[in-house]
Amino acid sequence: MTSSTSTSPLSEVRVDSIEKLFNLPPDSMSDEEVFRIVAALREDRQRFLSQPAKDTKPKKVEADLSLKLEDLGL
């Protein structure tokens, strides 16, 4: 999980550790608290995407399948 700052359309949100948010009863959570989780996970994803290429596979599948679609006239 993450600890950093994120900007959202809802508000300026400080992304604290989300571990404690995960352990809050969800009925009592505000939209902003839920969004902190979302923002932190988005940052995790960005960090993953910025890792070396071995973790991000090229999209061979789409290219190959598009050929298949063309063959069928779709």
Binding site: S8, P9, L10, F22, N23, P25, P26, D27, M29, D31, V34, F35, I37, V38, L41, R42, D44, R45, F48, D55, K57, K59, K60, V61, E62, D64, L65, S66, K68, L69, L72, L74
Partner: protein, 313 residues
Amino acid sequence: MSEGNSSFSKVSLNLQLAVDSTSIGTLMDCPRKYQLSIIQGYSLREESVHLTFGSLYHEALETYDRAIALGLTYDKATIRAVRKTLKRTWNKQLNRPWNSDHKEKNRYTLIRTIVWYLEQFRRDTITTIKLADGSPAVELSFRFETTYRSSWGEPFILCGHLDRLGELDGRPWIVDRKTTKYPIDQEYFAKYSPDNQMSTYDFAGRIVYNLPVAGVIVDAAQILVTLSRFERGFVPRTAAQQDEWYHNLGYWLRQMEQYAKENFWPMNLKHCNMYGGCPFRFVCGQTPEVRQKWLDVKYVKRIWDPLVVRGDI
């Protein structure tokens, strides 16, 4: 044996009349596996985490799709989906989060996968089709009579659930979401052609919604401990392929009735070790007189009734 399961005939014991892709697919795998899992309702205790995870994942994305169709912004729709999942994975009695005891499929990886999926397809080129009543075509349960009948004249019904009907480049597609722990590569998508589930969905889209469905778009998520990956694959079907699939279906329904009449469900011994091993391999490997005891000990009962709205993952 099939008591309490509304998908079975009231006339012919053990004959399932309302079938979905799971039922037929299991029968195709192995008639004995079908008898144990679909007719008798046994499943391994640890299988439940995959069912729970898959159901919650689908629920969250359905919530998101509906929110977007209602005009909510991307962020607000995401919050709605995540909030719903947080609630659904909260044990109110114990006042603590759901603990799956599974390193890849747990509350954290579930919510991470939802958020990452929505980010991946944030500017989705697929738009959700709206039904005649204006509601978004998401999480659709379908059922319709086939032209096939049992020996007693009862119609066989095909039923199931579609995740989403979407439009891409002016053509309607079924959108199906999958989760897997395996790499999503060309080989992964190749397994869907031919595939009974995909053909069932494609067929249902054409019949029930009377749309010229181009096929199924599979949004696949690979879920690992530290990350979730996504790929989108296209699984087209031609009219001739559909005719062939429907003809096949008729054969399997007749075969199913034959097994039911004889009340004998043979083992397909070539299937036992496929896909990591059949969940009933252990039981079938025992001498027949002790199998029931092992079923009672190692398995739980879970009725698989395709007529109950929403069931598969």
